[in-house]
């Protein structure tokens, strides 16, 4: 993997699949300056603990961390430089934050992100949870969430140079 041209990468996987760790390895392999863009809000202690664990996992490993729960395109533009790799962790938390905002057109936000990818000079790696492979949820918001996630993944994957599906810590290349 070389730093010769910007590109975007999508890393999909289930809960505790090792997708973030795999994405961090991809970022490291680029030899670019590493930026970590966290989308997670700490809504409760459990979430706070998860975020802290993720931070610890990459501690003292050369990452500059930024946080942006909503304006992901804006944050990426602000950080965008050709000598950088930006790891966005994760798209599903971003979707959750968008859905909490009243009157937000979540699919339009997703489409805007996908459309912006071609213009970035940085290499951008997106981590996201695949959530659509279980039983249809009884909860209507959960159904809407997995519809949004599925559509966002399709939009990002269509633009991405590489797409990986991670299970049990092992990547399966779906594109690229």
């Amino acid at each position: 993997m070389t730093a010769s041209r910007p590109r975007s990468i999508l890393v999909l996987g289930g809960a505790r699949s090792g997708k973030s760790r795999f994405a961090e390895g991809l970022a490291r392999d680029t030899s670019l300056d590493r930026f970590y863009l966290a989308t997670g809000h700490a809504w409760d202690d459990e979430m706070r603990a998860r975020i802290a664990t993720h931070r610890t996992d990459r501690a003292d490993d050369g990452w500059t961390t930024h946080e942006e729960p909503l304006d992901l395109v804006g944050a990426l533009k602000m950080l965008d430089q050709p000598d950088r790799v930006i790891l966005v962790d994760c798209l599903t938390l971003w979707l959750t934050n968008l859905m909490m905002e009243e009157g937000r057109h979540v699919d339009a936000d997703g489409a805007a992100l996908a459309a912006a990818l071609a213009d970035f000079q940085a290499t951008v790696i997106f981590v996201s949870n695949e959530v659509g492979l279980g039983i249809v949820p009884e909860n209507k918001i959960a159904r809407a969430f997995r519809d949004h996630a599925g559509r966002l993944h399709q939009a990002i994957a269509a633009q991405a140079a590489e797409v990986y599906f991670v299970a049990a810590g092992l990547p399966l290349k779906m594109k690229g």
Copy 2:
């Protein structure tokens, strides 16, 4: 892909994975006359909206649409011609309809469908939701549903010439 011999294809994927769109592309690539066999009942407004969206997605694209919620083998036999491709969308809705019928032996219906595949002259493409990769549902009917779905997928996949798993709009060939 040529129209030289009939065969059956199974396209599995999660919610909003792009599986139907991928299956429609496979059908188009055959250059056969395209028939769309919808199994979905509109139980409520949300379902009605989904069905309408699917219809719009293939509007004015040369499809002849039929609907059959229960007697899938009968509908396939009625449409069966060597110059046709029949897209069945989807098996999981068909299973749902069967489970709503009292006294139905759902697995036997699935086995009968799998057994009938070898005799069709048309190319038949089945779309279905993979639903067995989440936590065991607390709801007993949901557990029964994913058992039926898993058994049906195995039975169809064993007979099919090609099997695909679709995620984020990208196909992964599992067989063929």
Copy 3:
């Protein structure tokens, strides 16, 4: 596949994906003496029926069956011989049993199992359910369960010689 050196294999898949049947085929292909190590407790009639079905599926097929719900490392050590293949079915039931025990450090048990793999003389095949690809469960114990399962799968997969993901009865090789 030869019996020339011991190794471990992880077979992941969803509910009714055909993962156990595939794992049994792998075991048969080794030509080693086949041991079946069942981890399942029959908590209720439904579970009892599933276990009985699994037993019937391998009936009169040359398997010696043992049962161990908790001390999996101990049971493997007891059965460990170079001319044997041991099929552990399944890791997710084992995790369930561990989580029912008070004061158990489940992730430590998982790490101990992964660490022990290198020392076995038998070929060991683990079957496990992938459970992390649906919506985040509302139930806290379910969330903890899929976290434990994900971490265990990563730990076992890192040590295993081969890892398969099974859907619709079809294996996808992820490692090996």
